[in-house]
Symmetry: C2
Subunit: 544 residues, 2 copies
Amino acid sequence: MSERVLAIGVDFGTESGRALLLDTGTGEQLATSVTRYPSAVIDRELPSGGKRLPDDWALQDPQDWVHVLETAIPDVIEQAGVSAEDVVGLGIDFTSCTVLPVTDEGVPLSTLDRWRERPHAWAKLWKHHAAQPVADRLNQVALDRGEDFLARYGGRISSEWYFPKLIQIWEEDREVYDACDRFIEATDWIIWHLTGAECRQSATAGFKAMWSPEEGLPSVEYFEAAYPGFDRPDEKLGDHFVALGTKAGSLRSEVAERIGLPESVAVAVGNVDAWVSVPGAGVSEPGTFVIVIGTSICDMVVHADEIRLPGITGVVKDGILPGRYGYEAGQAAVGDMLAWFVDKLIEQGEDYAALEKAASELEPGETGLVALDWWNGNRTILADADLTGALFGLTLQTRREEIYRALMESIAFGSRRIMDNFEEHGLELTKIVACGGIAERSPLMMQLLADTSGREVLVPDYSEIPARGAALFGAVAAGVFHDIDTAIEATRPSGMRSYRPDAQATEVYEEVYAIYRKLYDILGRDDVGLMHDLKRIRSRQERE
Amino acid sequence: MSERVLAIGVDFGTESGRALLLDTGTGEQLATSVTRYPSAVIDRELPSGGKRLPDDWALQDPQDWVHVLETAIPDVIEQAGVSAEDVVGLGIDFTSCTVLPVTDEGVPLSTLDRWRERPHAWAKLWKHHAAQPVADRLNQVALDRGEDFLARYGGRISSEWYFPKLIQIWEEDREVYDACDRFIEATDWIIWHLTGAECRQSATAGFKAMWSPEEGLPSVEYFEAAYPGFDRPDEKLGDHFVALGTKAGSLRSEVAERIGLPESVAVAVGNVDAWVSVPGAGVSEPGTFVIVIGTSICDMVVHADEIRLPGITGVVKDGILPGRYGYEAGQAAVGDMLAWFVDKLIEQGEDYAALEKAASELEPGETGLVALDWWNGNRTILADADLTGALFGLTLQTRREEIYRALMESIAFGSRRIMDNFEEHGLELTKIVACGGIAERSPLMMQLLADTSGREVLVPDYSEIPARGAALFGAVAAGVFHDIDTAIEATRPSGMRSYRPDAQATEVYEEVYAIYRKLYDILGRDDVGLMHDLKRIRSRQERE
């Protein structure tokens, strides 16, 4: 027992957090434990006093995150029946950009009576969308000024990112803005809480705060052109960031006591749930396309060089794995498009399993349908939130399982389109590793990814991929492994389910994909005004 | 009582026939009576001996039609409590092209023991689609030879028409072909049965048998190019046709006895359900667009001159009202597209009335959706059976009533597109008269027709429109009125529900229609290969 060398990873999601206990010698996951956030997503009223929130707001309570640490970590130790003394490293990952205002001592404003009733004092969750007008303005001004930084982000920044959220506070509650010393990513705040020292990683700065090691932030002139008076963009962000894989410190004594671990435990700098899935899924090499598929899709690939290409979410040095350029792309509606069909359109008529079974019995091309998977806009490669979904080929004979399959095929075609984009710009891709809820639950979706791309799809035979990746970083911080690559190599489980492309299916899907791609170009580019007009008319008519 | 001058119209539909008793003095409908066909649509096996029919067959039993005459006519007399002696005229209308092989005495082959077991001896219902390969071949050869007659039919003939059905017999059962003297429209056969004399109208010859008063039939060379040996195309059709409104004769004595009317009753030549709806709805003037809207849409307009224009079903002299050119167009999927959505896609989730109510509460343009109403191909103006439906603008927020409304709007846009086509070729249209099941049941559909076209829509306040039109022709045959126009004028009911276009709605729909029309051109013309490829792939994959 005492020969075991253990690491813990804690994955902070949208509704709950989960801890995972890893045996660094065998790669075995000894225990996991999930703790729900008591306040979950705060999108209706503040827990402090019932103050009603406007539409599109989404907040969280940092005390909920602390509750996860103090509940789930002791639980995995107890479940596994191991000695806490054998734990040497701790890593965490968080949703992003989830960000909160804190004092110079790292105290969240929302925990202080003085600020507790002020909505802007709370942590803004990644899916807080109330800063869309700020994002629109920042994008427009960047385009007008020909700002070079946009090229790192496929030409467009998102309302979910750092500066839209920060500037919303600056505009709407200057007192909160002035009162906070840092506006900090939650992943970095957890590290501060654990170690007592501020130590921020560079990946979120790069992917979410428009910062790069070479160029720093966009210019003050740019920010002032968009928001006159907003002349110190680095004021709350800071300018010192370290690479992923760095050790942030060790546990503070009072935290160590509360979570039941020795103070000696090494803590890695914070990570982000999507990116940490790459090492979590055992991937470190270029050429492997990692797809995290759930509500939406996050695609990741690493490469030795920086290649600027259009239509990606971002490319950031050290952004996914230290020492490499991390590329991110994605699809905006995936699981939620399927959920829309089942829960909202056909309602209780059928469940997912029955639909997937019926859809599985169809042949490629047999539905006669093609969908454009833009139910929630297109994240990449078109980066157009005003696109909407479309469905072609409907007949009086069309059955619901045919539509369901067509939606799944459109997700696969969307991934294929993104892979094509990478390859057309010199990033060769040889295989796919998929993880996330849909990868675990839907063999049909995995087979479609293989058949439409002609590439093998591998799915890890274990779940809790992000927490595993975080634990690996914890082990690296503790010095168990020299670096993350060594850690991945040493602990990679042998079990991966493999979905190989079927040659005949791939041939048919080449034909259908040609139709998809033509429709994609017509409605997403050449005649994109049609979709935009539809949405513009809808917005106007809804208001009236 | 004895001052009443009465006429009867009998409307033969797909599942049943109905009689209507009309007071020619007041225009009042005194009674109606429906009789279902005992054998309904024969599409699985022959009633005679259980012989299994191939797919796409649809037959009827002429004895069922006689049953309607002998049941429904006595019933309206009894219901109204009038004297049969006051009935002076009888008119009928039938589905078309419903057509049957008969002897030289007008006896249907299917009633003779010698032929009763042979499927081709039975009446082929309008929706018998097993002659599609024949129609395909006739179309291809006509195109290859540059046949001029195609221009009267918008460039394409249908598998439902006369010659595809006749040539199917010629090919598949030459004995039946040889044994019949006439292959006759059911509407003409009923008249033969009633009067004992063959007297055929020219409207079906024009609309369904490629005949015109000036040019006759397509050449023998054309038919022989398509089907070598089929060298007497007029053999079963004959070449003598009279205009609608002509008196065919009086009742045979044995028929008069069986249906309970005096032998003196004048019988008008047969009519067709769609076309007779024009006088039935009180329309005789050019410029009024008559829409019969049910499972599909039949559009009609009359005009003094012949204008050849693309994308119509046909233009035929005397085809709708005598002395004028009748123009027909239509939409292939209307009621059945809505039924697909309710019954097949969302199933028992909601009923039509609840969906229509929810859809009615939405504003024009608020759905953010546009549909192309091609679930069953496009009849006019594209005349392309291989087109399929499409739906644009879907989001995670899209609700089922929004899709339902978008489908209804697409029906209205389809009608607008057809009206635009007429107007662009010099046929001015000032208002719309709508009838049929959906006109009676759906105020929303009527308002959408008004709002999308900017034209007033009038819906007769009475039902049984075709039977009423047939009765008016009966009254004309009896000399009660000088001609059909006088009859329409004299009996037009005052009650018409009016749907006036809402100026604001029309303005919004102009914008949405511009999007519809652009998508229509892209997917129906410029890039029509995409839709065709989808269908081709589907057909191939289904076969495998």
